[in-house]
């Protein structure tokens, strides 16, 4: 049952912005000659109240089912006119906009004749396209008001508490037998000087008290299916298998300091890592009177070319703690670039200098050499190698990703980078989101972070997740791709080209695109060799119609 196409065209003067260059009367007259156009109306300002109500009245009066507005840029004004269409009772996507201001009157002021011709062409193309517009509906999907937080280190615990504080249920998974993560083994947290264990205990106590958080220790994530608002996560914990329905997922799987096997005579006794030093500090078993710390051990080198962000501050913190215990202990920190960014860190760096910690820079080309009872280093001011007394050598090693990062990545279908840190949706503006809707990340799983940063990110990730969880249902405008399975040749082209890994083969062996996950770019539509993927928002028919209307 074909309904007759009835198109209304509205041409805006935009004061003299358009009318100063283009002959609006001529445009209206011309639009009237185009097929299926039943009414054409000029407006002084189409976006003003008189303009939008004019559209609504015209829809009623002329029984319009397509609306074309020739005015300014759709980037700012399309939503206004779509709303008018909706209010007039026609699908908001039965609307097409022609930009005769930014793309015409403003940029061809000195060639009115050509500008007029171009405006006619643009209107003709839009009317042609309008004939093939398809209605687009929004659809809803129920949201499970529970979050899954993977990892119960400082980041995961903070996220879980924040989510509970916002009123959502949380499933918290910890792979070890106890919550706490990396902080369990550490001494004190800088610069607050709170004991790391104390901080963990506070959080653990709060989690245990919080009825909304269900924590599973010795847990392994096994399978996750579904999509934003509606995931189903299966995991085992202490021999039992559970499946929880969750609306959002936070990845807080953390990281661990690199064990510097084979570097700088590391032996775990006289040559130890910073975290091993913290264990000593915690138990009060440090008696060395001369300590040399070496920075960038296993980091910022060709095989691991990243800076681990926090090791300089860890060294500074620990050197201060040593100085607190033994003021006369000699502490040398051998560094390449001190990463004491910001206010707090730089202040702590200064404090260490004040306390008598000595900082000596070295180059990658002439690294320190750990000898018996000393560390030899090229001292730039001396201009020669100098042996520094070292009863104890402490190596600052980078945080590296956990081995299980890859399996979590595979289960959640979210990417990791070459060093197996999880890859956020956008380095700048979506640092806590994955490209996949409904999954978020924080803490060392993303990249090495200080406790302050890990907590910040944890709270932030909780906020991102809450955006999903706070709704009973998620609405999604159907500007998405859909597979016509009748036509699908099962070639996997869509699966391979989608930048978001949305398409997959269903049980019948045909491609399937979950509309809640589709981002609406249209890449698969253009790639599908069987022309089996439909994209009503910008269909082939619309584009072809516009092309065909290029010439009068």
């Amino acid at each position: 049952m074909e309904t007759e196409l009835r198109i209304g065209v509205f041409v805006c003067h935009c004061g003299i912005n358009i009318a100063g260059v283009l002959d609006i009367e001529d445009l209206c007259e011309y639009a009237g000659t185009l097929p299926n156009v039943v009414t054409v109306q000029p407006n002084l300002f189409t976006c003003a109240e008189t303009g939008t109500s004019g559209i609504k009245n015209a829809v009623k009066e002329h029984d319009l089912n397509r609306v074309v507005v020739a005015a300014c840029t759709p980037r700012t004004h399309e939503p206004i006119f779509r709303a008018s269409c909706q209010e007039a009772g026609i699908n908001p996507y039965f609307f097409e906009m022609v930009n005769i201001r930014e793309h015409c009157s403003w940029v061809h002021r000195h060639d009115r004749e050509a500008a007029q011709g171009k405006a006619r062409d643009l209107i003709r193309m839009a009317v042609a396209r309008a004939m093939f517009l398809e209605p687009i509906e929004t659809f809803k999907s129920k949201v499970e008001p529970r979050a899954l937080v993977i990892g119960a280190g400082i980041a995961g615990m903070s996220s879980a508490l924040a989510l509970a504080g916002e009123g959502f249920d949380v499933t918290l998974l910890e792979k070890k037998a106890e919550m706490g993560g990396l902080l369990r083994d550490l001494h004190k947290v800088a610069p607050s000087e709170v004991g790391a264990g104390e901080l963990v205990e506070q959080k653990v106590a709060a989690i245990k008290q919080e009825g909304r958080i269900q924590c599973f220790t010795s847990a392994t994530l096994e399978e996750v299916s579904g999509y934003v608002g509606n995931y189903s996560a299966t995991f085992s914990s202490n021999g039992n298998t559970h499946t929880h329905k969750v609306g959002a997922i936070i990845v807080a799987t953390g990281g661990a300091p690199l064990k510097p096997m084979g570097l700088y005579n590391y032996d775990g006794k006289r040559v130890i890592t910073q975290s091993e030093l913290e264990t000593k500090l915690k138990s009060g078993k440090l008696d060395a009177k001369s300590i040399v710390m070496i920075q960038c051990v296993g980091a910022r080198i060709p095989e691991r070319n990243y800076c681990s962000r926090i090791c300089c501050m860890v060294a500074i913190k620990n050197s201060l703690h040593i100085k607190e215990i033994a003021k006369d202990a000699k502490v040398f920190v051998l560094y390449r670039d001190i990463q004491a960014y910001g206010v707090e860190n730089e202040a702590l760096f200064l404090k260490a200098k004040e306390a008598g910690v000595r900082f000596i820079r070295y180059n990658l080309e002439s690294p320190p050499v750990v000898g018996d009872g000393n560390v030899e280093i090229y001292h730039p001011a001396m201009g020669k190698e100098v042996p520094l007394p070292a009863e104890l050598v402490v190596l600052s090693t980078p945080i590296v990703a956990h081995d299980d990062a890859e399996s979590v990545s595979r289960i959640l279908k979210v990417p990791v980078n070459e060093y197996r840190f999880f890859l956020e949706a956008h380095a700048k503006l979506s640092p806590l989101d994955f490209a996949t809707n409904g999954i978020y990340l924080c803490g060392n799983a993303h990249y090495p972070a200080t406790v302050r940063e890990a907590i910040s990110q944890a709270l932030g990730a909780a906020s991102r997740a809450s955006i999903i969880l706070s709704h009973d249902a998620i609405e999604r405008v159907g500007t998405v791709a859909r597979v016509d399975q009748e036509l699908c040749s099962s070639c996997f082209a869509c699966v391979k080209v989608c930048p978001y890994q949305v398409p997959h083969m269903d049980e019948g062996g045909k491609a399937m695109i979950e509309p809640m996950q589709c981002q609406g770019c249209g890449i698969c539509v253009a790639e599908c060799p069987a022309e089996a993927i439909q994209f009503g928002y910008v269909s082939d028919a619309q584009i072809m119609a516009a092309c065909e209307a290029l010439c009068a």
Binding site: W106, T479, A526, E548, C551
Partner: protein, 140 residues
């Protein structure tokens, strides 16, 4: 022949080049009135057949204008577009048409002047090539 006015179709992505065109407008940067923009969500939406269609229907030139390389809003759409434009050029060569009639450009939303320059450059390129044998100008 050289004062012929080419007709050029532009496939312009919503996030960058369309925004650049808007910026050219609000900055009142003047450029030749020969281009006709067809807005698409991402240049990855453009298929070879769209490009061919535009040429068949009389465009003297076609170009696809996407985000700067590496900054596509949809991650890899402009990369796909670049590949397809190259493929379309190959097809044109196969039927003895100048591949220069089809081009790919990259620009950011902040580059209004670049949008204008590209429009200028393409208009000049096509003017040099002369009317498309498929176009409305061919008999003039």
């Amino acid at each position: 022949m050289n004062n012929f006015e080419p007709l050029i179709a532009v496939f312009s992505c919503h996030y960058c080049s369309y925004a650049a065109a808007d910026l050219a407008g609000s900055s009142r940067i003047q450029y030749p009135p020969n281009i006709r923009v067809i807005k698409i969500p991402c240049t990855g939406r453009v298929s070879v057949n769209h490009i061919l269609k535009a040429l068949e229907c009389g465009a003297d030139g076609v170009y696809v204008a996407g985000c700067l390389e590496g900054t596509c809003h949809f991650i890899s759409g402009n990369f796909k577009a670049k590949q397809r434009v190259q493929y379309a050029k190959n097809l044109l060569s196969e039927i003895n048409m100048e591949p220069e009639r089809v081009q790919m450009y990259f620009m950011s939303a902040a580059e209004g002047a670049k949008f204008a320059n590209v429009a200028k450059e393409m208009t000049e390129t096509i003017r040099e090539l002369g009317p498309s044998p498929l176009g409305q100008n061919k008999s003039e």
